[in-house]
Every structure is written in C-alpha cells, then in structure tokens.
Amino acid sequence: MLELIRQPWPWYVAGPLIGLTVPALLLVGNKALGISSSLRHVCAACVPAGIPFLNYNWRAEIWNLWFVLGIGLGGYVGYQLLGHPDTIAISAETVRDLKAQMGLTDFSGLLPRELFALENLSNWKGWVFLVLGGFLVGFGTRYAGGCTSGHAISGLSNLQWVSLVAVIAFFVGGLLMTWLFYPMMF
C-alpha cells in the first residue's frame, strides 16, 4: 500500500479526492474552497496602505490562511516524504516540443531550471517567468474573483455560470501564452 502511495497518483484517484475537498470544507465549517483569497488576506494583514479593498476584517477569514499553510506542509510531505520521480513522465510530444521550441534540455524537477532558477533574475527570463508570471497570477485571480480552485472546482461544482466564463477565460489566456507569446519569446 505504501509503495502504491509513493508512486505518482493517476488522475482518477487525485481528481475525485480534490472534488471531495469541496464537501469536506462545507461540512466541517461552511467554507467554500478557494485559495487565491489567501493572497488578499496576506495583503490586508501586512500592507493595507489605506486601500479600501484591503480594509476588511481579514481575521474572520483566517481559516483560509491555515488551509494554505497546510497546503505548504502537504507539499513537503507529498514530495519529500512520500517520494517523487526525478523527472516527471510527461508525454513524449511535449518533451519534443519544449526542446525544439523553447530550447529546454533539463526536464528534471517540478519546474524547468532553465527558466525558473533564481540566478535567472539577472536576465529577462527570470523576470518574465518568476516576476511577471507571479504578478499576473495574483492580479488576474483577484480581478476574476477566483482561481482554479474557487472558480473551476468550487464554482463549477456549484453550477455557477460565472465560473464557466472565468474558466474559459483562464484557458484563453493560457492558450494565448503557450501558442502566441511563447513562440514570440523563443
């Protein structure tokens, strides 16, 4: 059993477990699954700067910060304690395309070192992938009122048409980056 848990989990195990997080949070505390809000709570707690959108009682939402802290711990347990392959077994076509189109050679780890290594902050790649990328995630999720968890999982589970619009927009953005902007950058 432990050997099975230490292998990468297939979608039909992980997906339903992620889905069960939605009723679990509702049942234990009437909370809707959503992670990007945690970024707003941290801003409100640390740098409110008199901004009306950051002036609210973030302490009432502190459960969200505990949940996010747990996700971090879960990342440690899932990766360091429960094992991981050196190289993730992505499809051969993706490897081929990333080599040919982006010049990647190192496919080990969770993120390609050639784009995300901290040393890259001395050139444009680091600033685009680490700084601009992170910024767009933080800006866009709050503007859209949710991320993959709040809109795609939680919102669509609750049959919210607004979330369907949001998820389509997430994909439009992702496809534009992958198919239009990446080829312009590399």
Partner: protein, 136 residues
C-alpha cells in the same frame, strides 16, 4: 484550536496536488498543448465529484459541524470575470502554477516558489490599489 481542521484538510489537499503532479510546470504545458489527458482528468473528475457532493448536501439539507445550514454564496459576474480570468490564464501558462500549487511547490522545496508567491502578492496588492480605476 478551531482552525486545526483547516490545517489538516490543507495538508491532505497539498499532498493530493503534489502526488498527482499538478503542481508541475511541465504538466501545465502538457495541458495547454493538448498532449495528455492527465490534467483534464484531474480537473474534470474533481468537478464531477464536487457537483455530486453539493447536490447531496443541498437535497438532504445537511448542516455543517457547528449545526449551521450549509450555504454557498453565488459568484457574481463583472468584466473582471473575463478580463481578470484571461490575465490569470497568461500567468498560469507562464508560471505553470495557480495559487494552490505555488504554496505546495514552496513546501516541496522549490526556492523559486517564494519569488513567485511574492510576485503574486504584489499582483494582488496592485489590483487592490487600482481596483476603482479598472472596468468592473
């Protein structure tokens, strides 16, 4: 310690995200290039299970642990839904991560995730500051 239950659920959620490799930039690229079913399977089956669970909760009028009737606020539409959604999508394909995976990456030992999280906080802060001047 009423927040302990959220910490525990967070740990489980983080383990699932990590073991299913959805926190990997490579998996997200595979998804946006339509070259594997993995991510679609994870997200799709999560939605189906979430949907069935919410239906069960609603039909049986289930209550939460502290006895309150379960209520889920409706999501409200504004222009941010699609403009912000597209902006997030651009960032999702760049970083290969949405907010949940960023925290799991940091825990797994990826130092760069700290920079990504700081940049995401800066993005959220910038949105908050500019909010009244953006189309809503």
């Amino acid at each position: 310690m009423k927040n302990l239950k959220y910490l525990v659920l967070g740990v489980l959620f983080g383990i699932i995200l990590t073991k299913s490799e959805v926190i990997s930039w490579f998996r997200i690229q595979e998804m946006f290039r339509f070259q594997a079913f993995h991510m679609y399977g994870v997200i799709g089956s999560a939605i189906v299970v979430g949907m069935l669970s919410i239906q069960l909760i609603k039909r049986n009028h289930l209550k939460s642990l502290d006895g309150e009737p379960i209520r889920i606020a409706d999501k409200k539409f504004n222009h941010g839904t699609w403009i912000g959604g597209t902006i997030f999508g651009l960032g999702w394909a760049l970083t290969g991560a949405c907010p949940g995976p960023l925290f799991a990456q940091l825990g797994s030992g990826v130092a760069s995730a700290a920079v990504l999280i700081l940049a995401a906080l800066a993005g959220t802060w910038a949105y908050s500051a500019l909010r009244e001047r953006l189309p809503l």
